[in-house]
Symmetry: C2
Subunit: 228 residues, 2 copies
DNA sequence: CCAAAAGTGTTTCACTTACACCCATGA
DNA sequence: TCATGGGTGTAAGTGAAACACTTTTGG
């Protein structure tokens, strides 16, 4: 059991990094410099080293390839088709990541590896089976957002309810009723209403809110329903 | 990219096989014949070969170690702590499996490897991190059973509603109201009511039902709520 | 005063929950 | 006739969905 009868598959991680801006849900891609799929856009990712966990590998690859550092990660699937990589047998563990776009918009563009954001509905042709991975990630995000308040990971610390609503609309890909949305999200009692309001806008200033992680942790034991 | 800078982790699969009988939810374990953890009970599983998918590896290991053949499998997690295997770095992909206990009750006991069923609440001390894997599998099963009718995988083709209710009670680990359960499960319109009834029982004979996979497939696009 | 987004309640309908008794069968 | 599980309906409460106008601000 310390020697092996069989050759091993290689293990990689791939990560679908989501951000949201005015244009909706965005995904971070890198352009490959080497074959196969040279010149194609692809998900950031790479091989898992023997002395790191899967999450550590994912964070390391994101740092190296896209300079993304603060990111909420969730593993969501395994991609293991025998021929998904033409070079050799590679099994990939897929995660999605959520970042506050403003933090990362510029960094990604200035990193050595060519990285860029694309609209989630408007991805270029991707290397390997990355299109399938990205599509699975969106489905997973849609389903996860109903049972956990992960959406807040995508917003700045202070935000207005309209921003939050736009975020959920982008993720769920359907319009939500304003009054019902506010009623429900406030009823969860996870938001702290701040004194501050928006400034310098040509219309009524919006009240700002902050996600109250303390209240969330208190609620989280027992699970709850976040569906909208 | 065809040679590697870094040594590779080994990739394994582990499977939490669930069955249900009168005593409730059961889990299938094998007793280890070799070190480490010699003599301990463990989840069936083993190394993934280079020419098989993760699901194929899981099915192969189940066949080899427990003679379990017909099983509904779902991957649910990755166990990747650096030191989870004392021999070397091993990353494991965990699945749970659902079997009709009657099919497998005897086979498991007669296979070469020593295998046996244990009450899910009454597991022995397990090898490696298998206790954590089994516990995660139960949680996952509880949550999955709310969104998909996987419970039927655990029952014989023809069953009575009381059996189905006992099954859900075993999985969810709480009592359910008989009238509400029947109302809801019939309202889903996934069951075909058979002409046949139970026989040779010392009380009123129960009507038998069959899961209608056709109707399920029709409903499945759009997703639905199976919570009880 | 106009444009643009913020903010606010009520009604309807569907679903969930709680709850107790009679029925059929074999021993 | 008794013991055992099978089978049935209703009322009250909760949550989801639909829906339109007034407020505030800067230009």
């Amino acid at each position: 059991m310390t020697t092996y009868e069989y050759p091993r598959a290689a293990l990689t991680v791939d990560c679908v990094v989501f951000g949201v801006d005015e244009a909706g849900l965005q995904i971070l891609l890198i352009q490959r410099g080497i074959a196969p799929f040279r010149g194609f856009w692809a998900l950031p990712g790479g091989f898992v080293r023997i002395d790191e966990t899967v999450e550590e590998a994912t964070r390391r690859e994101l740092r190296e390839e896209t300079a993304v550092e603060r990111v909420h990660l969730e593993q969501f699937g395994i991609f293991d088709a025998i021929d998904r990589d033409p070079r050799e047998r590679v099994i990939s563990i897929a995660s999605y990541g959520l970042v506050k776009l403003l933090d990362h918009r510029i960094k990604a563009a200035t990193d050595a590896a060519k990285a860029a954001w694309f609209g989630a509905d408007d991805l270029p042709r991707l290397a390997f089976d990355h299109a399938a991975i990205a599509s699975a990630a969106r489905k997973q995000l849609q389903s996860k957002v109903r049972s956990e308040p992960i959406g807040f990971e995508l917003l700045p610390p202070k935000f207005k309810l309209t921003q939050l609503q736009r975020l959920y609309e982008a993720i769920l890909d359907r319009p939500l009723d304003k009054r019902n949305f506010r009623k429900k999200v406030l009823a969860l009692d996870l938001l702290e209403e701040l004194e501050e309001v928006e400034e310098d806008v040509a219309h009524r200033a919006a009240r700002l809110y902050r996600f109250d992680e303390r209240k969330y942790r208190a609620l989280t034991k027992g699970g709850f329903d976040f569906s909208l």
